[in-house]
């Protein structure tokens, strides 16, 4: 993160800011920046809105929660972009595929909450199959297997977010794997 900020500052310093893509500059605002290694997470809806997510908050078999990343240095919630909505759910580790297990933290997995098809959020959950389902065009994603597309028109999986547990908190262990949101011409 620091490296990128330094690059942006340097670019602005020599007057080349105008050639940077708008999205890059927007992400210079920590509220708009995508989740980063070390970020904690904040619950965005329901009775516990605003609470920082701990491992104990996530029970195996419970439905997913929707969270947004939080910069631990200053408490800034990265709520400036809808692409920072993240679905987090705890799954029996025995049901996770190897790649997914490697990114999970004690069975907790996290994915972009924005469908890669037309950018809808509000995905529903099938607890038996461990699938997310988009309300817009019915794409289903397998949460136990890298959120790959099981059915429907989405062109690619939901970007995964690697996790770790630090002092009992669920913490990002890196950036999204793949770009959050729609990829189209």
């Amino acid at each position: 993160m620091e490296d990128r900020r330094t690059v942006i500052k340097a670019a602005l310093g020599v007057g080349l800011g105008a050639v940077l893509p708008e999205v890059t500059l927007a992400q210079a605002d920590p509220r708009n920046a995508r989740p980063q290694d070390g970020d904690r997470f904040v619950i965005t809806e329901g009775d516990r809105k605003g609470a920082v997510v701990k491992l104990d908050d996530l029970k195996t078999g419970a439905p997913p929660i929707t969270v947004m990343p939080q910069d631990p240095a200053n408490g800034t919630v990265r709520d400036g972009s809808r692409l920072n909505q993240i679905l987090m759910v705890r799954i029996d580790e025995a049901r996770l595929k190897d790649d997914t297990k490697a990114r999970a933290a004690q069975g907790v997995v996290a994915y972009s909450a924005v469908c890669t098809h037309t950018g809808c959020d509000g995905l529903s959950w099938a607890s038996d199959k461990l699938w997310f389902k988009c309300p817009c065009h019915e794409t289903e994603f397998d949460a136990a297997d890298s959120a790959r597309v099981v059915n429907g028109p989405a062109p690619r999986r939901l970007p995964a977010l690697p996790l770790k547990i630090v002092e009992g908190y669920v913490v990002a262990a890196g950036a999204f794997i793949g770009r959050a949101g729609v990829t189209a011409p």
């Binding site: 105008a18 999205v23 972009s81 037309t118 509000g122 817009c136 019915e138 770009r179 011409p185």
Partner: protein
Amino acid sequence: MKTIKWFIPMLAAVLMPLNAPAQSKLPAPLPEYTPVTDARLLKPEAHNWLQIRGGYDGIGYSALDKINTGNVKRLVPVWSYSTGQLEGHQAPPIVNNGVMFISTPRNQVLALNAKTGAQIWRYQRDFADDVNHPHPTNRGVALYNDKVYLATMDAFVVCLDARTGKLVWETKLAENKANYYFTLAPLIAKGKVMVGSSGGEYGIRGFIAAVDAETGKEAWRTYTIPAPGEPGSETWQGDQWKSGGGSVWVTGNYDPKLGLAYFGTGNPGPWPADAHPGDNLYTTSVIALDVETGKIRGHHQYHWNDNWDWDEVSTPLLFDVKRNGRTFPALVHPGRNGYLWLLERKQDSVGFVDAKPFVKQEVFTAIDPKTGRPTYDDSKRLLVGKTTTFCPSHWGGKDWPPAAYNPKTNLIYIPAHENLCVTLAGEAKIAPYAPGKRYVGTDASKTRLFPREGAKYIGEVQAWDMNTGKKAWSYPYPDMDINWGPLLTTAGGLVFAGGSQDRKFRALDARNGKLLWEFVTNSGVTAMPSSYMVDGVQYIAVQSGWGVDAQKMTGRLNDSMNRKVTVPQGGVVWVFAVK
């Protein structure tokens, strides 16, 4: 020297403003362009297609007859053009003296030579990665004088130079982060560019706004949900008016004699009936706006306190109807609620004349003969925490694809869905409104769309005579296919219709519904067709590009019918002529 050559374009790139639209290298601007004046919009030439439905009356009729029932079998494609976009292509080719303007999803406008398909210019507006646009489509551009107008996915109106495609001005009308976005084509009358907002599934407060065609300055704004104290506000409770929906998904039609623009409005939200008690004016209505001031001069609410997602988004068609020996200026609306509405245009009101179902409808138990107000079967109402099943489904007897009226046959043609039902489950607890968050109040994972038991077809084209109030014919689509196809009818005695998963674009005999011609396109046709003439040759033009609700319906029916229909995506402009 080499360094300098390299440096100059680099410098130009550096100096370009951040928000400049991405534009391809432009060929020479059009040497000649015929301005689209008010007079031309009021009396469009038969060889042109200046507005999305051909004219202010919105009837989707071409007076050209060189392509007709006798020769349509020889209709073949003469050129095509890939738009480079996926998702729902719904915009018509608009043609002004040999120049075609066409919009696609993702804020793109193309100007093409209508005879050869050669590109004249291409415009694409830049937008942020996190733009909210759950219905990725655009329903067309509007022409006025020497400009082209586009309502964008991020809730701007942009004005382009028709000759070059260069941006003249842009005006932001709403906050996309709160999920206001535009899907409709602008309507332009008396120098006012009128647009309305989509976003009803996200708790918007719907509106229609007019901007000045020359300057882009906002002239007026009328909300489809009145604020406390305004007429109609008594039909809402508490603060629900602030996030009550009433989207304006589709372009209005215009009666120049009355100076009134007619717009259809969407449903109230969140969906369950008891989440928004009251009649909820002016949702699921037609409203008549004075184009000079935006003031609502009249309205008719098709059904009160909607809870079936029956947006009445389509704009009624404007033509004269004769009933009981009296000819009157009518509004004709095949409703999403499955009733065919006949209303009367008046200076200060909208009069109810008649309504009857055009598909099997199990929700209304009666219609008040004087007011048109329906009575409901309460068991069919969607409530918080309850599940209900009803027909027609939430996509209705007819969704947004426009109907067409042919003055020669005196028939209105309706792209209908018959025999479809749905089960919806109201959420037990609806989360409070939050800007940009889905605000529907149903558990989408429990939605089930299914054909009625024993049904032999779903999609169809129906023809009705409004003078008699009787159905003249029906063309049911084969293989339980669906119909999301806007219609075009012509003086050549034809009705053009796509809309199906089999990717076909077809011509029916306007008198009897007999299939006369069909062509398998690249994708599914959910766009408005148009017709025009250049150098004495008549063309039929349409985009093919499946997406949005048609795709969603395909997915839902795959679930319930245990089938695996897929329709390939990707937009192509098709232009046909008789050879």
